[in-house]
Subunit: 319 residues, 4 copies
Amino acid sequence: MPQLLDETAKGVYIIAATPFADDGGLDLESAERMTDFYLECGVSGMTILGVMGEAPKLSAQESADFVSRVLARVKGRVPVIVGASSAGNRNLGAFVKKVMDMGAAGVMVAPIAGLKNEEQIEGYYDAVVREIGSTPIVLQDYPQLTNVHMSVSVINRMLAKHDSIKVLKHEDVPGLRKLSKVRAADSDGSRKRRISIMVGNSALHLPQEMRRGADGANTGFAYPEMLVEAVNLCLEGKFDAAEDLYDVYLPIVRHEQQPALGLAVRKEVLRRRGVIKSAHVRAPGYAMDAAEHKELDELMARLERKLAEIGRATKPFKG
Amino acid sequence: MPQLLDETAKGVYIIAATPFADDGGLDLESAERMTDFYLECGVSGMTILGVMGEAPKLSAQESADFVSRVLARVKGRVPVIVGASSAGNRNLGAFVKKVMDMGAAGVMVAPIAGLKNEEQIEGYYDAVVREIGSTPIVLQDYPQLTNVHMSVSVINRMLAKHDSIKVLKHEDVPGLRKLSKVRAADSDGSRKRRISIMVGNSALHLPQEMRRGADGANTGFAYPEMLVEAVNLCLEGKFDAAEDLYDVYLPIVRHEQQPALGLAVRKEVLRRRGVIKSAHVRAPGYAMDAAEHKELDELMARLERKLAEIGRATKPFKG
Amino acid sequence: MPQLLDETAKGVYIIAATPFADDGGLDLESAERMTDFYLECGVSGMTILGVMGEAPKLSAQESADFVSRVLARVKGRVPVIVGASSAGNRNLGAFVKKVMDMGAAGVMVAPIAGLKNEEQIEGYYDAVVREIGSTPIVLQDYPQLTNVHMSVSVINRMLAKHDSIKVLKHEDVPGLRKLSKVRAADSDGSRKRRISIMVGNSALHLPQEMRRGADGANTGFAYPEMLVEAVNLCLEGKFDAAEDLYDVYLPIVRHEQQPALGLAVRKEVLRRRGVIKSAHVRAPGYAMDAAEHKELDELMARLERKLAEIGRATKPFKG
Amino acid sequence: MPQLLDETAKGVYIIAATPFADDGGLDLESAERMTDFYLECGVSGMTILGVMGEAPKLSAQESADFVSRVLARVKGRVPVIVGASSAGNRNLGAFVKKVMDMGAAGVMVAPIAGLKNEEQIEGYYDAVVREIGSTPIVLQDYPQLTNVHMSVSVINRMLAKHDSIKVLKHEDVPGLRKLSKVRAADSDGSRKRRISIMVGNSALHLPQEMRRGADGANTGFAYPEMLVEAVNLCLEGKFDAAEDLYDVYLPIVRHEQQPALGLAVRKEVLRRRGVIKSAHVRAPGYAMDAAEHKELDELMARLERKLAEIGRATKPFKG
């Protein structure tokens, strides 16, 4: 019986890519290698079929196959969250039931496009919770992508109303003050439980967010070992050591955080590191050109040089 | 001493155009004729320098001159609201002080662009009220233009907090249910006063809005005499008669309601009716072409035919 | 062998609703009655699974069942266009192949969200055409919904490049001048063929659009018989007679054109007319309340009164 | 006679803040110190009243006073560009005339909000050029702020048509490929002149942009000495040395790049460095709280530690 996601979630919940072959077909073998890689990096959980997982470009069958294969590979060692955002609640409900039956630990739900004010946002999550009952939810607050904007108040109201929302995936920008305010409600008596806050937004502000009380990272940086080490250092209170390490990777974090191009870069780094066979992004999607490959060569070479200066190196994944 | 705007506002508060000469210069003579025209049509108030008044295209001096000339012409016969939306609160405050000193009855304030959630919206109006004290405010809820979205809750919170907000200019779409909900708070004990709700959005849903409890129209249709008659009939409870009249004009209401083109059409109708000398819209703005003039010819001719069928006619303004 | 859509398309291509039972299940029996109704109204074609068809809220199986049942009922009497917009081109391609194999006459493709400039728009349609070959396409230009903005130039460039784009579904606002400009390119030598332009946007500007050269309507107004009669009158050059008729229905056209509420109203009118069993809209979606039902009662009663004045009446559908 | 901006512009054109006193009044004394500071840092030019200069929050008189004082202080040593974006072309024209008469070297013009397609964008700049004649223009391409999206094609068409556009301020995201494409048109025969490309977007991708052929930076980072040194190294072809230096500051570049908060941080760093007296941002604007001050303390302390590791330090400005 797999463990369900709860409010104690912390560490790195890696946002997994969905590997395709060069011809665009789903590459389940790479999915298994990628799963091994993430586990070897020490992640505390995995989130599959998120935004960066190209979920809306999969067929229903492909989604099911991918979820099934990843879950089988993970074998319950870490919780697996499945992205379940959907244009219709009925489809969402059916999909959630399916993946929870398969052994997922919870689902991530971003607000659908077109929610324009806070009554609409609240009404939307009320309906989602009615649809999926007590299934644990990661609430994704990613306005740059969804164009749905939640204030701290509406987030706190929803957390108060729906016990099944266990984790806030925080990726608003600017977001540091917002994170602190949501965190504050855990201890000022206004909320009965302490929720988990995991940060996304490509980890661009990870050290500052951890200092402000985040519980970990829920993003897909292609060097997850750094995320794991930095987050663990922060959880031990060693913020400066964490930031020293993080800053070495910041040039690539910053590069990967670019919309559209970012996913292509992320997959290409995983490919170069021996994790997945092809960096193919399904259309419509970004395909790197020669200049972008060269740029990435330089950034990766610089990373190795900077790591060498502190007696470290990245290592390709052996599988 | 001019009367200040309060919650009893009702009838038609016409949104006035700002007349320019063909060369783009401010035409204060036409402004006076236009003022006479609106008063002759029986409006209960005027709103100048609103969105349709091309306010951001005027220089500070032109704004002052225009406000001053209109106020002098009105001579206190009806309240004059001045649009005061501004990118900076300090400028807003200085402008509000100036026009209130001149004799304006209140100001209309739309939320600035970029307010993304309800805490930000509330914070913005808190700051505006701090800046302008007890000056009566028309709160403009026009998300199609501002891209700022207010739920009923945030509107009601702001009405509860700020007594100086006297009128809601309602122009959200779809907006009928929203109007009813704001209205309901007047009588269900949750608000201590009944506020005024005037409808905008080019009066496209005026009859339905009046049936739901609006107090009048705050828009700039180029046949204000119809708005006045229809709103008065509604205020007497003669909704069907009002709608019969309104529907005759609906084809032009619908035509004028188009963004960008609408202002050009509105000014051209006013010009044709003898109200203003030129239909010039300042750049960047829409300039009607021959096909659009012909289209308007047809729509205006159809209006006269339909009016003739019920024994009526529009009359050019003699001034 | 069903006829494929081509540039001669004209008349009314009705945008069909997707009927659900009160419990949200797909109601294929109502789908058949609705098909009969549309055909009885004299439509020249049908578009199913468009925006108003709640396509993204159907499961893959439901979509296939619905398409199949409608096609079987139509029996080739009119062309059936299937909405095929999709977040991924591979899914889009597979779906298009399936529905064309079933007997669809063509597909409607709106630009995906997030296309921000004209190179991206052009690149998107290039990729779609590569994916679906010579399948006839209705290009949907509906920026209010998609937030993708096409100038006349980019539309004309795509029409020049892709012969398979047969119809422009025109629903930009303001759009009249745009329609004329696209039309002009048919005859000024810059395009080798005359394309079909069908208007959407709930037919809010239908008479003006037909006068400017549109070939018909591609929208879902719940009184299709009016659309058919008005469009036919226009195609015979009897524009004033068409507009006289249209204007009687304009209050309801205007009411139905409201976003979100509009679909609920449209389905409710179809239900009241005996066409579909339930007006259910799948969540997330608008559910009419008592005030909205009363409002619709009044508008429908007014329509009958106005029709009676010209010796007409709507008739419930007998099936 | 001041030199006008031309296509040879390179180096750092600093985006200047507008200093206010704690009570919100314009602080012209700080403006002079800030000017001295920028010049001492070695900037090649200054851009005042840009987005970060809070231009729309100044009164007309304040704008004129500020421009005048800065120009007087600069005494022609470097070109000064003035932000001239305006809602109306007539106001824009009058303002441009005024500042050019005062001795500005050119103006920066961002597209007004609401330009939705490329015909509209092109039409807008056509009108601006008609209004201001041959005044040298910096074309600002900052879609994250303006929500106006330009493809490479429309940028190149405008550069071909308007010789007075001398500089592209490039700040689209992702933007690296776009920069290369605009650059390519300088040498592939499609454009008769090589234009200047300066990068904005808070310099978040400066090293990559310089490697791709940018001529410099046009942003307001609060350690301009780093921008100057890094850009100069790049212009000498020493890209790796430049990036080594840049990366030390990247944590703060990344922190400052946050919308809204960024300006407050930038002003606070300038205040701490002794450049301006107050970090006041005019309302509506971001005011840093205690947590944000502490966060900045830590980031600035880390910067000094990292600089010390390479035998460097920042130095407060003595004025």
